[in-house]
Amino acid sequence: MDKVIEVKNLTKTYGKKATAFTALKDINLSIYEGESVAIVGKSGSGKSTLMHILALLDKPTKGEVLIDGVNATKLKNRDLNKLRNERFGFVFQQFFMNANDSVLENVLLPLKIAKLSRGKRKKQAMEALKIVELEQKAKNKATNLSGGQKQRVCIARAIVNNPKIIFADEPTGNLDSATGDKITDLLFGLNKEQGVTLIIVTHDEDLAKLCNRIIRISDGKIISDQTVRKDSQKKASNRRESEAARVKKANERK
């Protein structure tokens, strides 16, 4: 399998000299294509900082981040923006939707930024909404949705550009367990059906267990990095039929 992300000797320090705070200390890490990775740690452990750096939203103080073998720390802002826009998808705990825009407008934002034509944008956005089963709500205002629906819209926004990697920051943190399950089904469905690499930052052990790899962080250091056996992984996913797969099948039948 190919390394989609590789991190070498990564250190991140905030502040200067006396007040300096080291959030990440000399981290080495490789993430392979198709993996589902949970980054687990208490708040302040540095897990969010790590995700931000992996997602190229932040720059390391020292060390290198390689995306598909390319050193991203040496890329220009323009190329960084392009890389994020084309290859990454983001799901946030607080959704971050433009409340007054329609669901469709929210979903197609990454494509608008990518300068896609109007027709293509709409087509791709509707496809993404179909996957999260919200195509009926395309014209609704984003404010009028429930929390679970909002997070599904965010997933649609994250996958609209067919990303290689989806970063999810506490994706179920603001949801009750039933709607949370639906969201995780969607995310892991994408991981399995389409081979999207999934990187989830969470402190929720149940969510972490669904991933095939769990990286634990404490005080800016990786304290454990375990890949779960394939069969137990399978068990976990077999409990429920993947939501995305079900939709796909339903569509095929039509």
Binding site: R84, N85, F90, I113
Partner: protein, 435 residues
Amino acid sequence: MKILDLIKTANHNLFRNKTRTFLTILAVFIGSFTIILSNAINSGVNDFIDKQVATIGGDGFIEVFPSAMYEQVSGMMSGSSSSKVKEYNEATGSYLSANIPEEDMEKLRAVDGVENLEIFHMLSTEWMRLDGEEKKFDVSVEYFPEGNFNVDLSAGRMTDSNNSEYEILLTEDWLEPFGISSAEDLVGKDVEIAIKQNAKCYLTPNDCLATVKAKVIGVQAPGILSVSGDLHINEALDSKLYELAMENVPESSIQNFIAVGNVEPDKLDSVREKFREIGYEFITIDDTVGMIRTFFDVILIVFNIFGGIALLAAAIGIINTLYMSVQERTREIGLEKALGMSKGKIFLEFSIEAILLGFWGSVIGIILSMIIGYSANALAHSTFLSDFPTFNLVVFNPINMAIITLVIMAIAFVAGTAPARQASKQNPIDALRYE
């Protein structure tokens, strides 16, 4: 994002907070409205003057004064230093007794480009009546070489100074007092004009009028700007009236300090220089009209300053609005950045928002001033301007309006740079963490 998408997004964002946006646009509108309307009125006035000058012609018409007098008069008008007390000059005498001697007239007439030049006679006519009628009317007449004036005649013809018969040109205003129904009927009628004989009046104040009969050869249409508002007569009648007025008046007490004539219009500048060498100045119709223009230009400047101050306040409003907008949309900016939007595009998004505030403000200013302007024109045409169907009180010049709109948009852009820069500099992580 494509530019069109940016503009659409910015416009959409603008109308999220309708009240705030409306108030900001209102502030811009006050400035743009003031400037656009006052410019349109100024264009109207200038347009009127241009049309009138074109209508009456007389591009080469000049009024000539001795330099000493010209300086004194123009100095008094402008309040410049030349109006200060001056030492008496034996050679030139008082500026008030500055006569134009015949030898100077010869020199002036000989200047290349001068078509004709005559001493202007101030005729203090007493009254005029239709020949054979009793009723007398106040009247003032004047003669100047006809030149290239385009007189708008409703009947008859222009006076002819080569004709030795006495001729006078009346206006349509005289139809009613004379009890004549049409201009055609007035042409050919004789009128009697009375003038005071100055020397005789000194001796017998109650019996010193002399009368002359003249023929009405044409009737002028109303409402056309005339050089002085006096009735025009031909040279023969002018000479006769002057002769009667000045009979027995000693030469030394006659004052002739204005000459009138015509110059080839394209030689005005060279003629002006030569006249100065001889010791004379002249003013043209353009100079006279120029004073009116200057007056309205000053008013325009004052109003533009008001508008400018309003725009300055509006610019501060734009800055404020955008800062609030940036504050409110911190997360949105963070999200857009995370999703790959560049700094430049974020800057542009907010700059376009600022520019749009300016744009809508001036568009509303244009629309409202056009509504008011055209209503004012319609009102004017049905009332005090009914005689001037071609004259508009307010004239909208598309180029002017485009320039004003662009300038306002530029001001709005400048105002928007600080908030737009703040937005573009935001760090996506901090922005997304912002609660």
